[in-house]
Amino acid sequence: MKLNEEETAMLAGEFGQVVKLAIEHQIKVGRFFHATDFVPVTQAHIMADTESLGQAGVMWLEKLADAGEGGVRIPTITDPRGTDFEHASMLGQADWMLELERRAIDAFVRLGVSMTDTCINYQTVLAATRGEHVAFGDTGVVIYSNSVGGARSNFEGGPSALAAGITGRTPRYGYHLDSHRQATLRIRAEWTPRTLDEWGAFGGIVGRLAGNYWEVPLIESLDRAPTSDELKHFGAAMASFGSTALFHMLGITPEAQRLADVGADKLAVSHRIGEADVEALKRSYAVDPSVDVVVFSAPQLSIYELRELAALCAGKTFKRPLLAVTSPQVKPDCDRFGYTRSIEEAGGTVMAGMCFYQSYAREMSEAKGWKRLATNSAKLVNILGGYGYVPMLASMRACVQAAETGELR
């Protein structure tokens, strides 16, 4: 990789050992992907829940913080944490998990990282703009920022996002390059989803068809522009099922006003997706009508999702736990507007700053006896099978009914 004068000094240790370690890591990754140089980035977003970090990852962070050399040089924020401390006992989380979380938070703070603890920063903190180069973690954040915002980011895992925060740059490869942002497959929507679970399922199908990180689907013929929440579920599921980092929607997303803008005029329509496909995906998860727990999470809920949920919960009494997870930025409004009260009076719980699957999901299942889980998040059903759950995908309304009756109909 070609290094400029400042980067050469970083590599030589002139900015300290932490910066040297960070840029060495970035060069290793950059060389793997044949990056020719670095590109400056304006924001970084770090996924670093402690289930992923483990003791080893926390100690690695502490080592960087203990160096006392300062920390990040650009605005750097965090993805959801592994707990909501206020509700940890209700989730069956052990003290060692909370202690590990506290140590990780302490290390991040000492490195100058802002603990936003959110995977919907594009709705709540600072949306990246078209052409802005960023280093974002959380696949849902990346795909939304790339596709809807027109920003430029690869999936940056926690260590790489932190390295980008520390050096203020990232290797120029993948979705930082024009050449990778052209469409590679063209998909026609023969039906437009209505509910968030349908948007998620639709995105999951596109992700499966895309199949890997480097494919860029273009979706055409939707009969309306989706809302931010619909795009959130659509993109998060696509990224989860397919490891997809960028999609275009013809006439909707900023880089694809015309087919030719993203090279899709040279592609034939290779797949068509209709309502039957979405229903089939949902049915594939519907294996048991009984439900142990209902979860709204992944991504964290916006204030409008919480408003809808609160309306559905009003006047009900739940037989099963219902968990709704949002960001620390949204939770105060949820409280002020009375949505938290409506949900919790029915027997639900509103949590903030965590995400269900990032919060020791396997241990929660064992501690609480939660196995059969209903959710309206296609991303969540795709993840939780590996954690021993039987996840089922349904609309928000059906999930609330499942909390009330104990069965998903």
């Binding site: 793997f32 992923s52 959380d138």
Partner: protein, 157 residues
């Protein structure tokens, strides 16, 4: 490329020798593994129930989210990690995780590498030369040509 040797476009890490665990399926440490037990745990995964520890994983593509970037490092700290991962198609997360976790990695072949490498075969991953090579039994039974500093040999389990 020869009948037993395949060239990658992307490579990282040290030369290792080990037994291949092969499937035309994806890989995500968060989605697919029980990392405490060291086995594939996702029910729909083709390798469900099989141990990945010290094996050379030969898989189709990197899947899922960003957690693997930390998890390979955490798995390495407990010596519950694959000795190398070989993909037809890699994503950025797996490469970043391999860089932090010190896991050798190859990706990008002109052939379907999951069809080219027999499951259970002893193979050599050589990032410096961007190759994966199926070994003849005489090579790994005698240890001929293997550096003791960089190689780990694990028999069938």
């Amino acid at each position: 490329m020869t009948a037993n040797s395949f060239k990658a476009r992307h490579a990282m890490g040290k030369r290792v020798v080990g037994q291949a665990l092969v499937a035309h399926d994806g890989f995500s440490a968060r989605y697919d593994l029980n990392r405490l037990q060291g086995v594939f745990s996702r029910p729909a995964h083709k390798l469900v129930g099989q141990s990945y520890v010290d094996r050379i994983l030969v898989l189709d593509t990197a899947k899922g989210g960003v957690a693997t970037a930390w998890m390979l490092h955490e798995m390495r700290s407990r010596n519950m990690v694959p000795s190398a991962i070989v993909f037809n198609t890699v994503n950025t997360i797996l490469a970043q995780g391999a860089a932090l976790g010190d896991v050798s990695m190859l990706a990008g072949f002109d052939t379907d590498i999951t069809a080219a490498i027999p499951d259970g075969a002893m193979v050599e991953v050589d990032p410096e030369n961007l190759t994966i090579r199926v070994l003849d039994p005489s090579e790994y039974l005698s240890g001929a040509g293997l550096s003791t500093e960089t190689s780990k040999v694990h028999g069938p389990r």
